[in-house]
């Protein structure tokens, strides 16, 4: 279980290999990567700036990891989230999960992203041709997170 909040880009291949080395008895590794898209619903995006609440972010990311480990039988859990200014197509977030069973690895990675999206204190500002604005919360993200609260 390891979480990192950093400005620097990450090397997906290296993160995967580190996970694999620790997780070698697990049999299944799922990764999710979020990239800066070059457009939003209205227009093209040149970059995003990600602000966070240092301290609380780390606390919540750790909490999400340990909640995932309580719900599923997991090996390794890794989260990296970037902050600062990111250009279109850059990597924003990495989630890696290993498990003996692929179903668990898939579900846990989805859970981590859904809960991260709605509870981890990050805020995103987009710069487009129309200027700079704060990204609004999406109802679809709320719905995705809500579906985990039943079980």
């Amino acid at each position: 279980m390891m979480i990192t909040v950093q400005q620097e880009d990450f090397d997906h291949g290296r993160e995967y290999e580190a996970l694999r080395e620790l997780a070698n008895r697990d049999g299944a590794i799922v990764t999710f990567t979020g990239l800066v898209r070059d457009f939003n619903s209205q227009c093209s995006v040149s970059n995003v700036v990600i602000e966070h609440y240092s301290g609380m972010t780390e606390k919540y990311l750790m909490q999400i990891c340990s909640d995932a480990k309580k719900r599923w039988n997991l090996g390794q859990v890794r989260i990296i989230h970037r902050i600062g200014t990111l250009e279109a197509f850059e990597q924003i977030v990495f989630v890696g999960v290993s498990s003996k069973h692929r179903q668990n690895a898939f579900e846990a990675a989805q859970f981590i992203m859904d809960i991260l999206k709605t509870t981890a204190p990050f805020w995103k500002q987009e710069t487009t041709a129309k200027g700079t604005q704060w990204v609004k919360r999406k109802d679809s993200d709320e719905a995705a997170a809500a579906k985990w609260s039943g079980a």
């Binding site: 602000e51 609440y53 204190p121």
Partner: protein
């Protein structure tokens, strides 16, 4: 003393990321908000519907109890990932 922090669009609209206020026995987040709003209209933003509150880095309701030395934070819905 209480440290009060602001993030995202709320920080931007208040034009401040953090203030320290004397702790005067406020029992809950709501009590403190009432006191802040007395300071001026711009603080009304804290009462907007979707503003989230954290006390000592834990998300909580406006009825959460506060104590001297606490760190409070007000921010809009999160949009990371």
């Amino acid at each position: 003393m209480l440290r009060i922090r602001f993030f995202g669009s709320i920080r931007e609209q208040l034009q401040t990321s953090s203030i320290d206020v004397e702790y005067a026995g406020e029992e809950t987040v709501s009590d403190l908000m009432a006191k802040l709003i007395e300071k001026g209209e711009r603080w009304l933003i804290l009462e907007e519907q979707d503003v989230l509150v954290a006390v000592n880095m834990t998300l909580c309701g406006k009825d959460a109890v506060i104590n001297s030395g606490d760190e409070l934070a007000f921010f809009p819905p999160v949009t990371g990932g």
